[in-house]
Amino acid sequence: MASSQRFQTAAVRIEGVEKHFGNVHAVRGISLEIPERSLCGFLGPNGAGKSTTIRMIMSIISPDRGTVEVLGGSALSMKDRIGYLPEDRGLYRKMRVGEFLGYVARLKGVHATGLSRRIDDWLERLALPGVAKRRCEELSKGQQQKIQLLASIIHAPDLLILDEPFSGLDPVNGRIVLDLIREEQARGATIIFSTHQMHTAEALCDRIVLINKGEKVLDTTMADLRATHDDRGLVCEPRADPAAFAEAARARGIARHARLHDNGAVDLELADGQTTESAMSAVLEIAPMRSIALRRMNLDDVFVEIVGGSDAKGAKIDA
């Protein structure tokens, strides 16, 4: 990292931040620390306060209360060390791509010498060769999105904040962006990104912050999250009636909860005292199985459970 000596452990430190918009209490006393070089996912339903929190981190808006410290100082004085891809994407339609990228890079303090070559290299890298001379309005939506992402990383920032970086991208371009984010982290940047795509967050993040109704409801590392949720469940496909199997598993004290899936699979959340090995043996005694597997942590489920929409996913039988 270019200036890692300026901060010790936290790239972003937020303390008791509140924000109102008129009568709407958008952010309610959020405190968090994002360690340097981490890749942190900001998750939450629409309107949860993710973008507002991100804008406060960027010093685009000021909190009503609380403090925000970015890279050891105020984001206002660190803007050239921060890359930001806003949720609402924007380009100057009539400006040429190379000129736009050059303009943003120069505003961020990149020296003009060699900038043109640098832009060409990046465009090549993002599978956009030869577009530097084209006007932004001539590009497809996906191409424009990649140009916007490039505008946020062209100055090699120490902190990269990406608000919904994958929205609107096809799988090929999504993969390119995914690789780019990983490379930025490998370079040493701290990355915060908000997304609704749980599988992407699961694959990328080493830290998760879940925000709901303006409050932080989860702030943990992926390792801790997995340790909490992994190995405490089984996914079974009984040859017999799934509902009867689920009821039996609960009745025999194998599972605390059992959830039926539309495809006939049954999720068992193991009861206290059960190990995965003992539970596997026990369920085989109830009914013959097509398959039986350890249940891996699913961020989707964690999200739905915490946000309160768990009823939306299949019937749940409580112990």
Binding site: M58, Y92, K94, L107, H155
Partner: protein, 461 residues
């Protein structure tokens, strides 16, 4: 992947300069601007210069027979000579002046008088003249006009040569199809013929009479308090303050309008947040205001330079003293910051031009006052309206420049100093308020704010 560059943090001034240059480059160095702000005015000036050529009269010639019932037999040869000789510019000007001084002051009458200008370029004449000595034949010659045998018939009463007789002593009958221009040519020829014949019969020397009737205009010299004397050019002295004010209006409103539309565009394009990730709202606003100040300056130098060059070519530079130029520059800076800050604030607060118009509308009403009332303000620069308006922003700089450059009577020095100081204080205040509205407005979406909400934004921490 490119390596992370070690770089110094750009100063606030550098970022403001970059934003300003981008705004200038993408406004003033575009085909649209060069065409709209440079080529079109040049074309308009060219068009005005070429107007007489473009409007050159292609009226068909006056062809046909003119019957003259004139017992004296003296009018026809005079009328024929006059009709076949085009009027001189001097004669037309004299006619026009007489006409304007005697016609009622309604628009239609004045338009009629102005139409005399077309006499400068009369239609060709291919007329056959026929004299009718028998005055009693008037009904038969009127019948000739009716059936199209003759294009006109004039009857001159036997006593028409008596100056005491009424105008009906000379009558002209024309068909309904005869063009107004041909009618005026015939009217002029017969009137002039009758005048000439009356003068000839009186025994007065016609040329002497003309010289006697044309008294010279008074040679007017304006004497300054310092004692210098200069030939008075009243019309120019009326026009110059108006020209100063119009120059202020055009240069400022053109670029302020660009500022408004680009701010709205950046907001609706969502590029605003990208910029705010690199600059502070204040840097962005300052960059935009200075960028469009450059655009205004380019227009000012271009149009003002053309005006000064025109005056220099006509050796009339003395009507624009140097202190007027200094006043103009002060009013330009003051007016620009007032109008630009207003447009930037409105642009940041709305999502499209229609919403902007409803917010800018009331202020524009105030700004139109100098445009509408420039003539009375110049006539009476120390009048109550002029004095009050020169202290009411954002109209004040426009009224002030009219007052300061008006030729009639100087405005008191204390008023000049107070109006300038107050004006710059207001401009500063407007920029301050605009900055606070801009900071909040650029990130707002949805319905446009009410004026009360704008005020609340200005007060927000």
């Amino acid at each position: 992947m490119p390596n992370s560059p070690q770089r110094p943090r750009p100063s606030s001034f550098t970022r403001i300069s970059m934003v300003a240059w981008r705004e200038f480059r993408h406004t003033a160095l575009t085909k649209g601007f060069i065409f709209g702000a440079i080529v079109v005015p040049i074309l308009m000036f060219g068009l005005i210069a070429l107007m007489p050529l473009l409007l050159s009269d292609k009226t068909p010639p006056l062809v046909g027979t003119v019957v003259v019932a004139d017992p004296s037999g003296t009018i026809l040869p005079r009328a024929k000579a006059i009709l076949e000789k085009p009027a001189s510019m001097q004669e037309v000007a004299q006619d026009l002046a007489e006409e304007l001084s005697t016609t009622p002051k309604d628009t239609a009458s004045q338009m009629g008088a102005m139409s005399k200008l077309s006499d400068l370029n009369p239609a060709p004449v291919q007329v056959e003249w026929r004299s009718e000595r028998d005055f009693n034949a008037v009904e038969s010659i009127k019948a000739e006009v009716r059936d199209g045998t003759a294009i006109a018939a004039a009857t001159i009463q036997p006593d028409a040569l008596d100056p005491s007789k009424p105008a009906t002593a000379l009558e002209l009958f024309i068909p309904s199809s005869l063009s107004p221009k041909h009618v005026r040519q015939l009217q002029r020829a017969f009137r002039q013929a009758l005048e000439d014949e009356r003068i000839a019969r009186s025994g007065v020397d016609a040329q002497l009479l003309e010289r006697l009737a044309r008294a010279p205009e008074p040679a007017t010299t304006r004497i300054s308090p310092q004692g210098s004397e200069a030939e008075e050019r009243t019309e120019l002295r009326m026009i110059v303050p108006g020209a100063f004010m119009m120059l202020l209006w055009i240069t400022i409103f053109t670029s302020a309008n660009y500022l408004l539309t680009t701010t709205i565009e950046e907001k609706s394009n969502k590029v605003m947040e990208v910029l705010l990730a690199a600059t502070s709202p204040m840097e962005l606003l300052a960059g935009k205001i200075f960028g469009y100040a450059l655009v205004s300056t380019v227009m000012l130098v271009m149009y003002g330079g053309l005006g000064i060059a025109g005056l220099a070519a006509g050796t009339m530079l003395d009507i624009v003293p140097i202190e007027h130029l200094v006043y103009f520059l002060l009013c330009f800076v003051m007016a620009y910051f007032m109008v630009a800050s207003m447009m930037a604030a409105v642009g940041s607060a709305v999502s499209d031009l229609r919403e902007a118009q409803s917010l800018v509308g009331p202020v524009m009403m105030l700004l139109i006052i100098p445009l509408v009332l420039w003539a009375p303000i110049i006539e009476n620069p120390n009048g109550l309206l002029a004095t009050i308006m020169s202290f009411v922003p954002p109209a004040s700089p426009f009224v002030l420049i009219l007052r300061l450059t008006a030729a009639t009577e100087p405005i008191p020095l204390w008023q000049t100093l107070l109006a300038l100081t107050w004006g710059f204080a207001c401009a500063y205040g407007m920029v301050w308020i605009a900055a606070r509205i801009f900071r909040v407005g650029v990130l707002m979406q949805g319905k446009p704010p009410t004026p009360r909400e704008l005020l609340r934004w200005a007060m927000v921490r």
